[in-house]
Symmetry: C2
Subunit: 337 residues, 2 copies
DNA sequence: TTGTAAGCGTTATCAA
DNA sequence: TTGATAACGCTTACAA
């Protein structure tokens, strides 16, 4: 059932139906009733595609994230979806599966779909590659990255601060050999957290040692490998700081397999307050990111842009240290007491 | 930049450009090159909206789930997105936030967006309410529910079997007083798992006792309450079967607070192999659902429909019992040995 | 091999 | 207050 068919049925012009639906005040009460009744009776639904074409506006925004199953992203996506749908926007969600190819395909697709805006939470491609995608005038909000593309808003976490507070916590407990499992330094989440770690150590008068830093790719398996590597050093750390939750899961498994008892034999602290962190034994001390707030902020920034704001805006969120039971003083300090 | 503008630039007809892009073999090599170069140079992107309108096909499917943050759904959504995007469909994701109102709004919206199909993973509204939404000819695949709507495909888990294998496992270990923390019986996931529990007991010649069954709403707090209730009975169970992961988290906390040691004092088994189940102490024995397979199956069923299949199809998946360390023989059996 | 022209279902402009 | 009509940007008969 289309507008025209309905119009013929009611013996009015298509324009009248359209008006009765979109600007009811421009139509006489009598016809309005008649139209609305017919709409209900025939369960007529306007064709959003046709409307979008005509209006040059899709009321749709695209989300690109690297892994929907990662609680970090699913938390943010949920908040975004919630905020946008309250403003009559719908979300097209693309999972880049940690792949640059999929990311670029997704962005290209979103460009063709003429989404009203894009929220981009994946740090694969460089800004030049993105610009070449020809996303023209589509407003973009970046989460957890700042590509430097002109006219782009950004939602960030203060990664340096988060890492510092984590490492400071370990230092305060008396640890001096603190290991780190870092993400790839080419990502801001990788380099920022690494930098926070380095700064905290230096500020405490400890010179960082390359031996105590292992690199992963933010995924579980790499966390396990990195933990193994740290344990195999001549003088292993008494505490580990892990740059994200997935790698922390891997590291934890490795520590358990190695027969280490937490926190007596090893303190562990990681980024992201995912649900399982609370249920593990021992419950994990973590640096929590305010996911809901960050997702809402991203959605808000986009809505403001769509409403006309033009100056690039950046919002930086503060992480919160949540102390649980996976961190404690190191043995040689703890036992004598 | 539109097709027509590009055509003027190249001094060819719009049709030629369209053909060069969509049916390159219908165009001379020379013009094809010329067109493709111009497309690149001006980074022209076809307008997907216009194409959809013209073709009457959006290459888009809608997903409606009750909670994106729940690992069960995010796992399924990821698999669906992955499968569909490989077939050039994109996903519009709607989170119903456990609310019937949002669910119906979402479905209505998807109808207007003229999605090619819908995958529906939320058990809020009845089939009559859904039919009234006038989703007309849009194919629907339902996950974890079977509303009975005509022309609908279904992906299910064999909940009865899953519950039976869980309870059978406990019975084989020698338990005779097995408690259950059930979900709401009005949901198929609630009633199915309860039925499996009852059947397993009866088959073993044990008459189920109302005292040993506590009901929750699939959320954490209710699991804790239910566990407390079971512990307070005159003759408490020696093992508990919990119908989902959230309630299991609550139950586990309650058992720990009660000072019970697992599995010596109490065996615990739950549905859903979420990540934390592996890291808790002791690691939880669970009934695992094949999320990826289920998501893929849902996507496949939809693709088949879109390719022309008409007979309603239902795919039932078998859960898998994953035995870890939270289940063991009851004390009176275990100690004498 | 290429061009012409109709039309997908709306909304918006202009007249009546 | 209503109606006729022209877009929106693309694809596809049909014609040349």
């Amino acid at each position: 059932m289309t507008l025209v068919e309905l119009a013929q049925l009611l013996q009015v012009s298509p324009a009248t139906i359209s008006r009765a639906l979109n600007r009811p005040e421009m139509v006489s009460a009598r016809t309005r009733e008649r139209v609305l009744k017919a709409v209900r009776d025939h369960s007529y639904r306007p064709n959003g595609i046709a409307r979008s074409l005509r209006k040059g506006e899709t009321q749709t925004v695209g989300l690109v994230v690297s892994d929907l199953q990662n609680p970090f992203y699913s938390g943010i996506v949920k908040a975004i979806e919630h905020t946008l749908s309250a403003h009559d926007y719908s979300c097209i969600v693309c999972d880049a599966s940690e792949s640059q190819g999929k990311e670029q395909r997704a962005l290209k697709l979103l460009g063709e779909l003429k989404v009203s805006g894009i929220i981009h939470g994946f740090s694969g491609s460089g800004s030049d590659e993105l610009e070449r995608l020809g996303l023209d005038g589509i407003p973009i909000v970046e989460i957890d990255r700042a590509s430097g593309m002109p006219g782009t808003d950004t939602v960030l976490l203060d990664n340096v601060l988060g890492a510092r507070s984590a490492v400071d916590h370990l230092l305060e407990l008396g640890h001096t050999r603190v290991g780190m499992i870092s993400g790839p330094p080419r990502l801001t989440t990788g380099s920022g957290r690494l930098e926070g770690y380095l700064r905290a150590l230096r500020q405490a008068g400890i010179e960082p040692s390359d031996e105590l830093i292992a690199y992963g790719d933010f995924r579980e398996a790499s966390g396990r490998n990195a933990a193994r590597k740290l344990l195999a050093t001549r003088s292993p750390p008494t505490a580990m700081f892990v740059a994200n939750n997935e790698m922390a899961a891997g590291a934890l498994a490795e520590l358990q397999d190695a027969g280490l008892e937490l926190p007596a034999d090893m303190s562990l602290i990681s980024f992201d307050d995912v649900r399982w962190a609370r249920y593990v034994t021992p419950p994990l001390t973590v640096v929590a990111q305010p996911l809901r707030e960050m997702g809402e902020a991203a959605a808000r920034l986009l809505l403001e842009r769509l409403a006309g704001r033009t100056d690039p805006t950046r919002r930086v969120f503060q992480p919160e240290l949540v102390i649980r039971q996976s961190t404690a003083p190191p043995r040689r300090v703890g036992i004598p007491a």
